[in-house]
Symmetry: C2
Subunit: 301 residues, 2 copies
């Protein structure tokens, strides 16, 4: 297991860390990077790229980006291009940029799964793959769009980079510094480990919360249930409000790892149901104790 945490933000000797940043997909994730880098004085000009013209206009009005650009312009002008759109759109964006990419331009992304994106990037970028440093900021909210962007979104949050053998150490360091300038702590690990771990601690909670929420909403007495639901329900289901389009892409992209985890969660549910049916209070309590202790000890180390 390769897992290293780096800390300490390098300050640009003279001028910002990133003279020209291009953000492809200026919503919560990309917009927040732009705002955070601006606040830290680590970015010069910000180009905004996207398919939704309205969204780009709003992003400009909100001060997230300085100007709207095409993928081609971004590839030719930017020092760093951040791909911050749903996983499904990355291949098309890279294909448009590839012919215009300067050799010194760095590409990075914010996708929630890494194996699929790395595969797509390899196919499109070919011998330029070394310019792509895959990344994933573990931050987000139930809100989305440029209006949701915030300079503080990544403060004290975790960002995982899954560097490729072809990356230069200078390139990886620059992307690391970008995220550190946003206030994040940066870890490095392999793409496969990333997808397994995130399948467990991010995608699986969403899968369970969404399945549960859909089940409650479909009940005959859904209105009564929702009237009486309290604070436990509130916190447990919060993530189920997230973007259906984004999570559809994540689930499809990471289906292999997710199915392994789901099988394992099902086995625990089976064990709990068996204990209930048989009135086996001891087994039930032991299982609940294991869960409670793990949760109580979390973030206490």
């Amino acid at each position: 297991m390769t897992l290293t945490a780096a800390s300490g933000v390098a300050q640009g000797a003279d001028g910002p860390l990133i003279p020209v940043l291009a953000v492809v997909g200026v919503g919560l994730i990309g917009g927040s990077v732009a705002l955070a880098l601006r606040e830290a004085g680590q970015v010069g000009r910000v180009l905004g790229v996207g398919r939704n013209a309205q969204s780009l206009t709003r992003a400009q009005a909100l001060g997230l980006i300085d100007e709207v650009a095409t993928p081609e312009q971004a590839a030719a002008e930017a020092d760093v291009v951040l791909l911050a759109m749903p996983v499904g759109g990355v291949r098309a964006a890279l294909t448009q940029m590839r012919p215009h990419l300067r050799p010194e331009t760095l590409l990075t992304d914010a996708g929630s799964t890494k194996l699929e994106i790395v595969e797509a990037a390899r196919a499109v970028l070919g011998d330029r793959i070394g310019q792509f440093v895959p990344g994933h900021p573990i931050a987000g909210a139930e809100r989305s769009g440029p209006e949701a962007a915030s300079a503080t979104l990544y403060r004290h949050r975790t960002v995982i980079l899954t560097p490729l053998p072809e990356n230069t150490s200078g390139g990886v360091a620059r992307v690391r510094e970008l995220w550190q300038a946003c206030g994040a702590r940066v870890f490095e690990m392999e793409a496969q480990a990333h997808d397994r771990v995130l399948g467990s601690i991010s995608h699986m909670p969403h899968l369970l919360a969404a399945a549960y929420m859909a089940q409650v909403a479909g009940a005959d007495d859904a209105a009564l249930r929702l009237t009486l639901a309290g604070t436990g329900f509130r916190d447990f289901t919060r993530i189920a409000a997230g973007s259906p389009e984004m999570w559809r892409d994540i689930f499809l992209s990471n289906r292999d790892a997710l199915r392994v985890e789901l099988g394992s969660v099902r086995a625990v549910l089976d064990e709990m149901e068996r204990a209930m049916v048989q009135g086996d209070g001891e087994a039930l309590e032991a299982l609940l104790l294991r869960a409670a202790q793990a949760r109580r000890n979390w973030r206490k180390e």
Copy 2:
């Protein structure tokens, strides 16, 4: 479906609503009632009953109770006896109190399931069952014990009463006023509907969160997973830290309703897995959209 919400706290004409309150089990739930009624000026003397002498001493030191009493004393002296211990202990407490119970004393409880408690109360109280008004405050926290008690725990929270045919309307009104004096809104419904609905919106989230948390904690790379877990994980698993003993009792007590719900949640999980396996993005998104819309609309009416 009988569901009525009552509002408006009746103020005692002269003197508090409850001259002598006995709280059996002075932890978070019972202690918070005592504090809230005191703050509202609606209780005279508070007797504390419990098996744990240390806990009672702490409750007295914290000002939750005025004096420690036996179940027999509580039955003979109190105007209202609140049973606020785990479901499993109610039968024994009622058995001790029954011979000493004055005819005008009201009994009520705070148990998370109602059918089992009503059955136990009927068996023990016999022709005095009309004195028992079953109740359930939907409030709680991951913390427990007298130190966790707070005068504001029930403010704007929901309390469900499941009155019995044998209850007098005056008795039900008094218990309703007790909870309203604590700041809660009070609903009335049948015990069976209560257990079905709570099985869905309270017990099922706990079952899923605990099963998931136990699964993560049991993984080979649990430490890595827990290091990288973020805010979605935090909220989704919060309830899994709850008392294993209390939740064991709830799951066993409400196993019938809970198993029906679990079967229904499993069916949605099956459908999501099928969509993932078949790459059926449309079905997956439709399901996620149903969940997201229901969650976004919750508490907006």
